[in-house]
């Protein structure tokens, strides 16, 4: 294989980088740190409380960093005024300081060089690294046009590089959070209600009387506000119904657990719709007033009886009827949770549509205990010249596919980066900010091919994630605890603003992303788009437009506003949904016009062969994807993942608790590392379960390296949703290898 871009391990540079940091360390790294403070010596110590919002996951809870007189971050707690966390962070937020103290952090800019015929990284100054990037970007703009630069991003930093790319002349900005995650859900809800459920979701779990979770494992995904509200719902005696092939934490707290056969969710949803309509249980007044296409829907689901669904889902008909009745009894305070990671089987928009239709039949949208109407605060844009209009954009990489994709699809941008005949929209350069594509994205061969074909690959991160090994330039970003960032403006039950400001100065040679983007912009002659010397000026200007000031926000951290509009549809109002007709689309003309089923249908998906088990993956409450696997404050809670195996299956294979096995998938791909067996009654016999985010294979992640197994390396069968390009990842089957597989020599 052509290896213009050979994978480089950053570890060899550790010593030099540490030396560079000498003299500016703000925190004693490593095991010696806590000892000096132990014996309860800090009791009574005065702390400075510095506002922040968390960056360990996308929920972005506002909190306080407690900084000691010596300038150490002692702890982080939630901001009691923030409705997203109510003063209570989750374990990852509480342990967020581990991102800052991580000894493996990127410390200085690195540039790829060839020494004695070997590719390696050498430390570089910021000027050198930024000059190089600007030079390359200029070349790309001249040779291929600025549209040939793309950005892959996740988290707060993406905003500044988006600004950079827009000023440069490209709108090829993409994130795995769409096609690999919430895209199908958002598309399904937009097609039905005219808008998505946003993030944080506008789900009224707090006041619900009946909460239905289908593949959503609240409590294991620590979407903080939702976890807190589910707890309130339990206190309030709400009925919880959980559909999951695994006894999830949420399932264990539910009145009804429906241990469904994986991949058959749509059949269950259709039979619930059938029962609601044919047993006359749906919310007639609401449907008559706000929805259209009911008669078509009624005809469509005529034969989808619980008896029909039983044969597919293994859920007993009476259980399907009883749960449908529970939902109807609580209507409209019933919430069929839309979920978040919904790219499962390639027909995911349709499944999300079925969930949306169920919510519509129960009158959930716009009613207390269902889905509330959000309200937010619009933060004005800091003035900048108008962005140039790109000649083409990510839509042109679709070539007629995925007609209803409202956001860019990572995989088509990756595909467009591979030179091929007929590829008229060639991408030549990437900036990757805050997303470890190598672990996040399925279809690794395509990804590797694309990365080998690029003229420029810049990676901006705080940690030496796998993706950094493929970069031409690696830029070390400071952590969220060391920087200002854009205001967090949340549209939810109540509009809120939150501020993030540095608790301490950036360690090592690290810099905030806004600074990095501005520096590259200036070198490209785009300085007018970054017309400020410090992000503080932008924040202060924006806050002043809103009648606040940076000074005040630095004191309060969170500003809550009273709502101006009702949170629920008023009984006598003439509420218009954001669809073309203003009505909820039970029958979707838009889908029909684009050649898709206007109403969801059940399609049977492939089942595992003998000796294979469906690979189901999910979250653990103390980890965020692969980004916390090296966080020393969290790893002791869960150092590695385990493969959950039903005791019957374990007996069949002679697997013992805590034994290590390798997993091999249906395409013969064997996991890089072995994984511990967890024998448990909590999982079906036709499936295995692992927590996503482990099995790092990059040695510079000195703790995370080699711990557990990475699910995405075993996801080689991707079922793409034709409607919006979501990459369905639940159609992979694995078997166990008890002995270390021999590495096959490549001839």
């Amino acid at each position: 294989m052509h290896t213009r871009r050979k994978f480089i391990k950053i570890s060899s540079l550790g010593l030099g980088a540490t030396a560079l940091a000498g003299g500016m360390t703000k925190w004693v790294i490593g095991a010696s740190a806590p000892k000096s403070l132990s014996s309860g010596s800090k009791m009574g110590t005065a702390f400075r409380m510095v506002p922040t919002y968390c960056e360990v996951c996308f929920w972005k809870c506002a909190g306080w960093s407690y900084v000691s007189e010596e300038g150490q971050i002692q702890k982080i707690t939630g901001n009691a005024d923030d409705p997203q966390c109510n003063g209570r962070l989750c374990p990852r937020g509480t342990g967020g300081v581990g991102m800052f103290t991580d000894p493996d952090r990127l410390k200085t800019p690195l540039m790829r060089v060839t020494e004695n015929g070997e590719q390696t990284y050498r430390e570089a100054s910021w000027d050198e690294a930024l000059d190089f990037i600007a030079k390359k970007m200029k070349e790309i703009a001249e040779k291929n046009g600025p549209e040939s630069m793309a950005l892959f991003n996740h988290g707060s930093s993406g905003k500044y590089f988006t600004q950079l790319l827009n000023a440069y002349g490209s709108s090829n900005v993409t994130a795995p959070s769409f096609a690999q995650c919430r895209g199908p859900r958002d598309t399904g809800f937009e097609l039905t209600f005219g808008e998505s459920v946003s993030s944080p979701e506008v789900t009224d779990i707090r006041d619900t009387r009946c909460l239905v979770l289908i593949g959503s494992h609240i409590g294991e995904n620590m979407h903080n506000g939702q976890v807190q509200e589910m707890s309130e719902a339990i206190d309030n005696g709400a009925t919880i119904i959980t559909v999951d092939p695994r006894l999830s934490t949420a399932a264990s707290k539910s009145k009804y657990w429906l241990p469904i056969k994986p991949s058959t969710d749509l059949a269950l949803l259709l039979s619930w719709i059938h029962v609601l309509i044919y047993d006359d249980l749906y919310n007639k007044e609401y449907v008559a007033k706000y929805a259209e296409g009911f008669n078509e829907l009624k005809e469509h689901v005529r034969n989808f009886t619980p008896e029909w669904a039983y044969g597919i889902t293994t859920i007993k008909p009476e259980l399907i009827r009883n749960t449908a009745r529970e939902m109807a009894n609580a209507s409209p305070a019933t919430l069929i949770h839309p979920g978040r990671h919904t790219s499962w089987y390639g027909d995911d928009v349709q499944r999300s549509r079925a969930i949306a239709i169920l919510n519509a039949l129960l009158g959930s949208w716009g009613n207390r205990g269902g889905i509330f109407l959000k309200e937010g605060i619009k933060v004005p844009d800091f003035p900048h010249p108008e962005y140039p209009k790109p000649k083409w954009s990510w839509q042109d990489t679709l070539n007629g596919r995925y007609p209803l994709a409202k956001e860019s699809i990572t995989n088509t941008i990756i595909e467009a980066s591979i030179p091929a005949e007929g590829n008229t929209h060639q991408i030549k350069g990437w900036i990757v900010s805050g997303t470890n594509l190598v672990v996040a994205i399925p279809l690794k061969e395509q990804l590797m091919k694309a990365m080998q074909s690029l003229d420029l690959l810049v990676v901006v991160d705080t940690m030496p994630m796998e993706i950094t090994g493929f970069a031409d330039v690696v830029l070390p970003e400071c952590t969220y605890l060391e920087r200002y960032d854009d205001l967090r403006a949340t549209a939810h039950r109540e509009p809120t603003l939150a501020l993030r400001m540095p608790a301490v100065e950036p360690m090592y040679e690290t810099k905030p992303a806004w600074w990095i983007a501005k520096q590259i912009g200036e070198r490209l002659g785009l300085g007018t788009y970054f017309n400020y010397t410090d992000l503080k000026e932008v924040l202060d200007w924006q806050l002043k437009q809103l009648g606040l000031s940076l000074e005040e926000m630095e004191r309060i951290g969170v500003k809550k506003y009273a709502r101006k509009t009702p949170a629920y549809i008023l009984p006598d109002s003439d509420h218009k949904f954001k669809t073309a007709s203003g009505k909820i689309q039970l029958f979707s003309k838009e889908l029909e016009e684009n050649g898709f089923d206007p109403m969801p249908k059940y399609t049977a998906h492939a089942q595992p062969d003998d000796g294979f088990y469906r690979l189901i993956y999910g979250r653990a409450p103390m980890h965020t994807f692969s980004r916390t696997a090296n966080n020393r404050n969290l790893v002791a809670l869960m150092p590695e993942n385990a493969v959950w195996v039903n005791p019957q299956v374990a007996e069949l294979w002679g697997l013992k608790k805590d034994q290590y096995v390798w997993l091999k998938n249906q395409d013969g791909v064997v996991s890089n590392f072995p994984v511990k067996v967890r024998v448990t009654e909590r999982i079906r016999w036709d499936s295995v379960y692992i927590v996503h985010g482990f099995g790092h294979h990059h040695k510079p992640l000195t703790y995370a390296f080699g711990r557990g197994v990475n699910d995405t390396e075993l996801i080689t069968n991707v079922m793409t949703d034709p409607i919006m390009g979501g990459t369905g990842m639940r159609g992979n089957f694995v078997t166990f290898l008890k002995d270390e597989p021999k590495k096959e020599a490549k001839l």
Binding site: A31, P34, K35, L37, S38, S39, G40, K42, M43, G44, Q74, K75, I76, T77, G78, C85, G87, R88, L89, C90, P91, T94, G95, V97, G219, E220, M222, N224, V227, Q228, M230, S231, I234, D235, L247, T249, A250, S252, K253, W257, P259, P621, M622, R632, N633, L634, A636, L637, N646, P647, T680, E681, R682, I683, R684, W685
Partner: protein
């Protein structure tokens, strides 16, 4: 005054935030903990149930750790909080053996360490760190002698159990079931 804690197992999701918060609040060295989470699975698929609960020192009324301590380092403070005075502790570990809840550990600095109910916070009128961060609010902390306290109210209205009652230690952590 009698401090106690009630933990609602119906609400706990086992996220371990209590563990992390305790570690950062009390400078517990990485790799050690004063509180932890237990998951008990019962039944066979699909008739399975789980109990999740956070555990720590039970601050027992009849505390074997205090009785066996040769130096008096382990002692009972006002409000029934069981503490270890680090300067008096010789690290012999007798209390670790005596505790039926495995709530104590040897600190690398040579003494035995355990949950203090965050006495430094409680004296300031705050909840222990674990209680204050819990996303599910499944923990209540308070004074059993105060009839108006939340904990008394909770224990009046809910079924509860304590751990290893057969040990006769009279634990002061109650699990709502």
């Amino acid at each position: 005054m009698r401090y106690a804690m009630a933990i609602d197992t119906r609400k706990c999701v086992g996220c371990s935030d209590c563990v992390v918060a305790c570690q950062t609040e009390n400078n517990v060295p990485v790799g050690f903990c004063r509180d932890w989470v237990v998951e008990v699975v019962d039944g066979t698929y699909p008739n399975v149930s789980i109990e999740l609960r956070t555990e720590r020192c039970n601050h027992c009324d009849n505390s074997p750790c205090v009785r066996c301590c040769p130096t008096g380092a382990s002692h009972i403070e006002d409000g029934g909080i069981v503490l270890v005075e680090h300067n008096k502790c010789i690290g012999c570990g007798a209390c670790i053996q005596a505790c039926p809840y495995d709530a104590r550990y040897s600190h690398p600095d040579g003494y035995v360490d355990k949950c203090t109910f965050c006495i430094h916070r409680v004296r300031e009128g705050k909840n222990p760190a674990c209680v204050s961060v819990c996303p599910t609010s499944c923990m209540s902390f308070g004074d059993l002698d105060d009839p108006n306290s939340k904990i008394v109210n909770v224990l009046k209205n809910r079924k509860f159990k304590s751990l290893a009652p057969e040990a006769g230690t009279k634990p002061q952590i109650f699990y709502l079931i």
